[in-house]
C-alpha cells in the first residue's frame, strides 16, 4: 500500500538511490535508519573551546533522559516507548526504534565535565563540554 513513487521520476536516479541504500545496509555506514543501527545516532565535533556531542534521540521526554559523565565517559540512556497501536488497528510499517537505549562515548582528557551543558531541541540532545584552560608548560627549577 505504501511504497515510494517511481512512476514520475528518472529511472536512473531511482537506481542510483536504490544502490546507495543497499550499500548503506551492506556497509553499515551511518544513517538514521532504525534497523541494525544503534540508537540514538551520535555526531561529535570539536573546537578549540569545546567538544560538542549531538545525539539524535527524537520523541523522548527530555526529563526521562539520563545523561551522566563519569571518569571521562559520557553515557546517554533512556527509553522510547513504542507507538500505541489501538485494538483493530494494523501496524503496516514498524521501522522506528522502541525500547531502552544506552550509548557510551569516551571523552577527551582536556574537557571540563563539571560545567557541561545539555540542551534538547527538535529531538536532538546537544551536550557541550568546555575544554580546560590550556595548561601552560611549566619549567621545574632544579634545586
Amino acid at each position: 500500500m505504501f511504497s515510494r513513487a517511481y512512476s514520475t521520476r528518472d529511472v536512473f536516479a531511482e537506481m542510483n538511490r536504490l544502490q546507495q541504500e543497499l550499500q548503506q545496509y551492506l556497509d553499515h555506514t551511518p544513517s538514521i535508519r532504525g534497523l541494525s543501527q544503534s540508537f540514538p545516532a551520535i555526531n561529535a565535533g570539536s573546537t578549540e573551546q569545546s567538544v560538542d556531542i549531538y545525539a539524535f534521540v527524537p520523541g523522548v521526554d527530555p526529563a526521562s533522559l539520563d545523561v551522566q559523565i563519569e571518569k571521562g565517559v559520557l553515557t546517554i540512556a533512556g527509553e522510547r516507548k513504542a507507538e500505541n497501536v489501538p485494538e483493530k488497528a494494523t501496524l503496516h510499517v514498524d521501522e522506528r526504534f522502541a525500547g531502552r537505549f544506552r550509548r557510551v562515548v569516551t571523552l577527551p582528557d582536556d574537557v571540563e565535565s563539571t560545567t557541561a551543558q545539555a540542551r534538547y531541541s527538535d529531538g536532538v540532545l546537544h551536550i557541550s563540554l568546555p575544554r580546560k584552560e590550556a595548561v601552560q608548560p611549566r619549567r621545574i627549577a632544579i634545586q
Binding site: R4, S46, T47, E48, Y54, A89, D122
Partner: protein, 124 residues
C-alpha cells in the same frame, strides 16, 4: 537551464537525503504515520500532499559552534526525504500534521464514504 540539467540536479538532491524511519498505523477511520526527523526545526519542514503521493522533507539545522570540526558522524546528511504512494480511499484534503520533539505525526483520514458505518436493523 535545460530540462536535463534540472533533472540531474533533482536526481543529485534525491541521492543525498536521509531516509527517515517511519511507523504506519491504519485504523478504521484513517492512517497515522510517525516519522523520525530529529534536528529539523518547525520552519524547515516541507510536507506535500499530491493526488496520490505524500512527500516528507526536512532540513536538519543544528546549533553548531562556528569552526567546529566533525570528529565522528553517524548522521552525515542534512536533509530527510521520503515519498509514499497513497491509495484512493484516503482523503488527501484532510491531512493534518503535528510535531513532537523531532517526530512528525501525519494523520490521513479515509474518505467518509469508505468509512465503516453501522447499519441499524429495525425490527417490525
Amino acid at each position: 537551464m535545460s530540462e536535463q540539467t534540472v533533472k540531474t540536479i533533482a536526481a543529485a538532491r534525491e541521492a543525498t537525503t536521509l531516509l527517515p524511519a517511519v511507523d504506519v498505523i491504519e485504523d478504521a477511520s484513517g492512517i497515522t504515520l510517525f516519522a523520525d526527523m530529529p534536528g529539523v526545526p518547525r520552519d524547515k519542514f516541507d510536507l506535500q500532499v499530491g493526488n496520490d503521493t505524500l512527500t516528507l522533507e526536512g532540513e536538519v539545522s543544528l546549533d553548531m559552534p562556528t569552526q567546529m570540526k566533525a570528529t565522528h558522524a553517524e548522521v552525515t546528511l542534512a536533509r530527510y526525504r521520503r515519498v509514499f504512494t497513497l491509495s484512493k480511499e484516503l482523503d488527501t484534503g484532510k491531512v493534518s500534521a503535528e510535531l513532537n520533539h523531532g517526530v512528525l505525526k501525519v494523520r490521513i483520514p479515509k474518505a467518509e464514504h469508505v468509512q465503516p458505518r453501522k447499519v441499524s436493523i429495525t425490527v417490525h
